[in-house]
């Protein structure tokens, strides 16, 4: 990539971030259109976007944004109340901006129809407002134009931007890093004394994780009096995040006179966890605003191609395997030398640290995804005409980046489903049920025993079990003579071809049902749990692994090969007594355990392998939880538990449902990882 291309890539990415933020801000603004700060924020975003668009010849985007900016500026400077329909136009405009950006990036010639329509509306609005304004007060208008011109680059008081930078740095402040605000007020003769502002910044930058500085050049004089070697820079404020101590920082400035600099140490903010952030139609407060406005400033210092990260991750996976091999090697362990033992221990620890750190590189807070969901809630609420109040919890929970990308769609689907089907049809029905008018949707992310759970709850009608069951029977999904647990019944609504909505609505019932959600979550090796109480509400929980690349696995010997069973699904393992093993219909075996009949799965049957048949009481049964209930996988012996790096078997083999991938063991051999949900018993087992 040339320098030019790099700069372009950065700007495009920045534009993408601005648009994403606009999308969120505009919704918040719609909820509370009197929030002047937010309007300013939106205006700034649009303004920067205009600059970016024009810099890269994205003229169509540029033109649109230009007029949009005019409109925003009008309301910003007049502080006039925004009419409802115009507010709607703003939201529409952001949508158009998103689409046009895509067209520009992919160099698509045809623009969406909405482009010209929306642009016309905006132009009309501009001309109406402007003409009104001129007739009202010509002078005022002129002064505003000057005001607009001065807004170039920075559109608000420098202090605010500085504050924002500090907040942004606080957000990325880790243990061991200190945050300082340094004010550099060099004298007019500093250049002659050999000092340059950039020199200090450069020295600081060498030891900094992140550094941002603000040059105040308002005092620079015109050429009549200007001299290059005289310092006209009033002051430079530097925000720096660094491991250095206050004393270390002071050393950088020891040759300056004391009135030329000041250093202020800024205490880290304590992040409060799990504090519900209430997003209500009317209750967006100022505190909320300060929280998210900081997202526009640089979050990180380096952008890395995710491919490179994946490669790094793979290598670390190999490192873990090699380290495991050494740690478990019998020969090495038999060496009775304390220092070797210690070194191996150290190696294990360091490997673990590297693994954790590399893993953390891929982790991002789920916040952005949740922010997007606010819009989904708004749109759905609008379309269904139901009043909805969204509560968001655990936004800071971190999740694998690759997973986040595939999470949006299922989440959108579940949220729409919750509002459309979960909540009562209207406020009257809710009031009759003794609930508040507004439906409540809770979006939550949290850690639970080595997994990440993302849940969507509504306080609506709840799932009517009888209706689900009868529908499932009607659709032929189940036969009806089985006994189902509650969770098994709830799971039915995610079966293909199932939909409880009487009318297919525009929202969730678009021909695809929850089965699509289920499939996409399973692709991430997660599962969906549904919990519901009739009359009280429903909760969809997506239980996801911490990362896509590594799982905790139980290694077993079976039918001459080594297989890996994900520990997440293992309930217990045991050697059964002969007495508790039974045969059903002369063909399929099951084991009675604590009053429950669990089918026994032989891998040799599933995989049609020819192998010597042993009896269940000669082997080990590994009991696992699957979506259709518990099964007992019969294996010859257990080898142990180990973290393994999951690898795909390649395109041609991914269609093999019973196997979710392969892993390379310490000795270089490959073991297949079983997908327990696809291991089905041959015959239904009688219920206990």
């Amino acid at each position: 990539m040339t320098k030019q291309e790099q700069v372009k890539a950065i700007f495009i990415e920045e534009a993408g971030e601005i648009i994403e933020k606009l999308d969120i801000d505009i919704i918040r603004f719609e909820e509370n259109s009197s929030d002047f700060n937010l309007l300013n924020e939106i205006f700034r975003g649009v303004h920067t976007l205009k600059g970016n668009a024009n810099a890269f010849g994205f003229t169509r985007l540029g033109e649109f944004v230009h007029y949009f900016e005019d409109v925003l500026d009008y309301y910003r400077s007049t502080k006039e109340d925004i009419e409802e329909h115009n507010l709607e136009l703003f939201v529409e405009s952001v949508d158009v901006i998103k689409e046009v950006m895509t067209c520009e990036l992919d160099a698509i010639d045809t623009l969406p129809k909405s482009y010209s329509e929306c642009l016309e509306k905006i132009k009309t609005l501009v001309s109406i407002k402007k003409s009104k304004d001129i007739s009202l007060d010509k002078q005022n208008d002129v002064s505003e134009l000057i005001d607009l011109a001065s807004e170039f680059g920075f559109s608000e008081e420098p202090e605010n931007i500085l504050l924002k930078s500090i907040k942004a740095h606080q957000a990325i402040q880790d243990d061991g890093l200190n945050l300082y605000k340094i004010d550099l007020t060099l004298d007019v003769d500093c250049y002659k004394r050999g000092f340059d502002h950039l020199l200090f910044i450069k020295n600081l930058a060498e030891e900094a994780k992140s550094i941002e500085s603000f040059f105040n050049m308002q005092n620079v004089e015109t050429l009549d009096t200007f001299k290059s070697d005289t310092n006209y820079i009033k002051n430079v404020e530097i925000v720096v995040l660094t491991p250095l101590s206050y004393e270390n920082i002071e050393e950088f400035f020891e040759f300056l006179s004391e009135d030329e600099y000041s250093i202020e140490s800024i205490k880290p903010v304590v992040v409060k966890e799990d504090e519900p952030l209430v997003v209500n139609n009317k209750s967006i407060g100022a505190s909320d605003d300060t929280l998210s406005t900081s997202t526009i400033t640089q979050k990180s210092t380096i952008r890395i191609d995710t491919l490179k990260l994946d490669e790094l991750f793979d290598s670390v996976g190999e490192l873990v395997i090699a380290q495991n091999f050494i740690a478990q090697n019998e020969k090495i362990r038999s060496v009775e030398d304390e220092s070797i033992g210690r070194t191996i221990d150290t190696l294990s620890k360091i490997t673990k640290i590297i693994q954790d750190r590399v893993m953390s590189l891929r982790m991002v807070a789920i916040k952005d995804t949740f922010e997007k969901m606010k819009r989904v809630v708004r749109d759905t609420s609008k379309k269904t005409g139901k009043e909805v109040h969204l509560v968001v919890q655990g936004e800071e929970t971190e999740i694998d980046k690759t997973m986040i990308d595939s999470l949006s769609d299922p989440l959108i689907h579940i949220i729409r489903n919750a509002i459309d089907h979960g909540l009562e049809a209207n406020a009257d029905e809710r009031i009759k049920a003794g609930k508040s008018r507004e439906g409540k949707i809770t979006l939550k992310a949290f850690h639970k025993s080595g997994s990440i759970v993302i849940s969507v709850s509504d306080d609506g009608r709840g799932i009517n079990k009888e209706r689900v069951l009868s529908k499932a029977i009607e659709r032929g999904i189940v036969s009806g003579d089985e006994n189902f647990t509650d969770s098994q019944i709830f799971a039915l609504i995610m079966q293909p071809g199932f939909s409880t909505a009487e009318t297919i609505s525009d929202l969730s019932g678009r021909g695809v049902g929850l089965d699509v959600v289920k499939t996409s979550i399973e692709k991430l090796r997660g599962k969906i749990e549904i919990d519901s109480k009739e009359g009280e509400g429903t909760t969809f929980s997506m239980v996801l692994p911490l990362t896509l690349a590594i799982i905790d696995g139980m290694l077993v010997h079976a039918a001459g090969e080594i297989y890996i069973i994900p520990t997440l699904s293992v309930v217990e393992s045991f050697r059964p007594e002969k007495e508790i093993v039974h045969m059903a219909k002369g063909k399929s075996e099951f084991v009675s355990l604590r009053g429950q009949n669990i089918p026994i799965i032989r891998l040799s049957d599933v995989f049609t392998l020819e192998t010597q048949r042993i009896e269940p009481w000669e082997g080990i049964l590994v009991c696992v939880e699957t979506e259709i209930g518990r099964i007992a996988i019969m294996v010859d012996s257990l080898i142990g538990r180990q973290q393994v790096v999951i690898k795909t078997l390649g395109k041609s083999l991914t269609k093999l449902k019973e196997v979710s991938g392969g892993a390379i063991l310490g000795n270089g051999e490959i073991a297949l990882i079983l997908n327990v949900d696809e291991l089905r018993p041959l015959i239904e087992v009688p219920h206990g």
Binding site: F152, G153, E212, F215, T222, S228
Partner: protein
């Protein structure tokens, strides 16, 4: 430094000596220059360059200096630098 019709091209890594020469060069010519392009291949060397660009812009507001108008520069050696020059 390259002068091409209306546009003047300069580099970011000008030293104080070069900036002084640049000042001498541009003083008599400021009214004939439409645009100053700053080649951002290297990191800035002296803050005086920012000052002179601001001075030029203030002297002749019509002068186009896209680099200055951007309001910020990002370089590994300095992190992010912003500047404000309006009253």
């Amino acid at each position: 430094m390259e002068f091409n019709g209306d546009a003047l091209m300069i580099d970011t890594d000008m030293s104080m000596e070069e900036i002084i020469k640049f000042e001498e060069f541009i003083r008599p010519r400021i009214d004939f220059i439409e645009t100053i392009e700053v080649e951002e291949g290297c990191a800035l060397k002296s803050s005086a360059l920012l000052s002179i660009l601001v001075s030029l812009k203030k002297t002749r507001p019509k002068l186009q200096i896209p680099f200055l108008e951007k309001g910020l520069s990002i370089a590994p050696a300095y992190g992010t630098i912003h500047w404000i020059y309006h009253d």
